[in-house]
């Protein structure tokens, strides 16, 4: 397939793996303490498992699967709020597919649908707006979810709804922003990370400048990476190269998609429609300051949180769940007390078992062959 096969070439992969091996051979990596590189984004996690990249890397490199799966980090209370809205008889609740299965404390959206709520799977917020136009007597609520990658499309849809005065359309805004979360991870006392693969599609919107503090203040290398397997291998090599040379820079491996300055039109729409929340609750990580956005007052009429009385419940993560430690790289998914026993994709207890992009679900489904073997 054009523009894909080129980035999945096994022969080129073998060359890159050899380059990584020879680079690491010149580095002084302690035997008992491999280098920990975090891929921030769930899309990377998915590719790493799908193509079996972990098993191709030398033992001195361990990949840590970060918090960049928006479905996974959604707290249970927010899912309960979704179910509450969806269960109102006048509401058509429109959501991306993989949010359907996220468990709330009572039920998931999929269960709510089975119980009679009108929950519809859409592929874009514009689909939700189209449903609103077609059903003027119903209230259509779009479940706005995701990092800066999906934030602009929700913002542009709200602007379009405003332009057309579609009064029965609103957004339940759960958009979150990645930078404060990376900072929270860097501030954590049990941090074990040596470098980052930066989120490619978030960066396509925000550019590379917002990550400068990671290099400047925390002295950690960051390489903004594409999602094809060759992208990921090359980015790992670039991180290693920085570590070897004692540098900490923000580099852009994904320049074919990510402009250093980001996407001005998308950023404009984002800044017009949203403002930062004081804090936002993340599954597994707790409350993080300025890590979520809400609609500005000018767009209150499209804000489901103001349109409907939302209970806004706070539900604590289950005590046995160690998602936070997995997210920070302190333990591997399979080292969690409940991995594969009390917590499985059928009955996820923790955030990371929820979506196929979550590290634990990916381990469970695609299996880090080497790591599973090591665990046995």
């Amino acid at each position: 397939m054009k523009y894909l096969d080129e980035f999945r070439d096994g022969a080129k992969a073998a060359i890159l793996v050899a380059e990584i091996e020879s680079l690491i051979a010149t580095m002084d990596v302690p035997r008992d303490r491999p280098l920990h590189i975090m891929e921030v984004c769930g899309g990377h996690t998915h590719s790493i498992f799908r193509f079996g990249i972990e098993g191709m890397l030398p033992k001195q490199i361990e990949l840590v699967h970060g918090p960049g799966c928006p479905v996974c980090v959604l707290p249970m209370g927010r899912v309960d709020d979704c179910v509450n809205i969806a269960e109102r008889p006048e509401v058509i609740f429109a959501t991306f597919g993989d949010a359907m299965r996220v468990p709330g404390s009572r039920k998931s959206l999929m269960q709510a649908k089975a119980d009679g709520a009108d929950v519809r799977m859409v592929y874009s917020p514009l689909d939700a707006l189209a449903i609103a136009r077609k059903n003027p007597a119903r209230e259509v609520v779009f479940f706005g979810l995701g990092f800066e990658t999906t934030m602009p499309s929700t913002a542009l849809t709200i602007l379009q709804a405003e332009g057309e005065q579609v009064a029965n359309f609103s957004v339940f805004c759960n958009h979150i922003t990645i930078v404060p979360t990376i900072k929270a991870i860097l501030d954590s006392p049990d941090l074990k990370l040596d470098g980052f693969l930066g989120p490619g599609h978030v960066s396509m919107v925000i550019g590379t400048a917002p990550y400068e503090f990671i290099a400047n203040f925390y002295r950690k290398p960051m390489v903004v990476a594409g999602f094809e397997p060759l992208d990921i291998l090359q980015s790992i090599w670039m991180v290693l190269k920085q570590i070897k040379e004692g540098r900490a820079d923000v580099e852009n491996q994904y320049a074919r998609v990510v402009p250093d300055k980001g996407n001005a039109a998308a950023l404009y729409a984002v800044s017009r429609v949203y403002e930062l929340r004081e804090f936002f609750e993340w599954r597994g990580l707790g409350s993080i300051d300025h890590s979520g956005v809400k609609l500005r007052d000018e767009y209150a009429q499209f804000d489901a949180e103001r349109k409907f009385a939302i209970p806004n419940l706070k539900i604590a993560d289950p005590k046995s769940c160690q998602c936070g430690e997995v997210l920070k790289g302190v333990i591997k998914p399979w080292q969690c007390k409940v991995f594969g026993t009390a917590c499985t994709p059928e009955m996820p207890l923790g955030a990371l078992m929820v979506s196929s992009e979550g590290a634990c679900a990916a381990y469970y489904q695609y299996g880090g062959v080497r790591q599973h073997a090591a665990a046995e």
């Binding site: 096994g10 193509f51 991306f96 059928e346 062959v369």
Partner: protein, 355 residues
Amino acid sequence: MNVAPFIRSRPLGKVHVPTVTLSHGGGGKAMKDLIDDVFVDAFDNTALARLEDQARFDLAELAAHGDRLAFTTDSFVVDPLFFPGGDIGKLAVCGTINDLAVGGARPLYLSCAAIIEEGTMIDLLRQIAGSMARTAKDADVEIVTGDTKVVQRGACDKLFLTTTGIGVIRAGVILGAHLARPGDVVLVNGLLGDHGAAILCARGDMALETPIESDCAPLYGLIETLLGAAPGVRFLRDPTRGGLATVLNEIADASQVAIEIDEAATPVREEVKAFCEILGLDPLYLANEGKIVAIVPPDEAEAALAAMRAHPLGTRAGAIGRVDAGEAGRVTMRTVFGGQRIVDMLVGEQLPRIC
């Protein structure tokens, strides 16, 4: 097969209204007219035209085909009713034929039960019954008994079909999911995922236009050819819902073996690959309606592959992997990229990823 020439002993009823109403399910003349007009006329055979409550078979005639009876049933609720490459009628006939055929049975007779939503167009039903009749005729199978029910609007989605089938297994043919042995070769007869992708596209909610057609086809002919060339075949299964990945997991589990497939050797159409890339789906889990997975002993693999490739439904057949003595129940894939990953069962249905 000895099919008695059909002599119509009575004139067939006719429906003169455009849509089905509840009166067509009331048991009276309207119902008889619907059955005659739509089903009896299309299926056109003696057993059905007698309109008895059951079809009757001559045991000696059945026994001439083999020494065991195979019996299966399947329901069809596909949305939309018509899709590129087929329709619910063709699917209902192929599905049950294939469920018999993968057991090594020669499919002989089908039943057809239809649950119809009031308001459904009669013409649409005629078209679907016609499609069932053509598919059955091509596969040398008769639809010999049936049932119709009409339900209120909203109680079903236009039309649900259930087909039940019987077939006869030739003496000596023994197939089973528990029979795979290390060293066996995994074969498929062609491109995977077409049906699943075609249906998702045909629903139209993602505004993607693709030329992908369902692979829906009756597979007995191919299987007969395969079993002739490779009588030692251990197991056959049609990878419908859940796709290739699910079938391989079932085999690995039932036979307590490991299976490794090779991504580069696994045939998937470029359009299906692209479709899956866009939506974040995996073709290994997409449904097929005209494919078989065959587990074949190593010494017969070459003959089996050649036989499949010589058949019109197997031109793109390939050997995609091997059974080995690794961890029992584990299915892995060697990726095109040179890595290895586990191919597990899906938990629920595949859901498109957010970003």
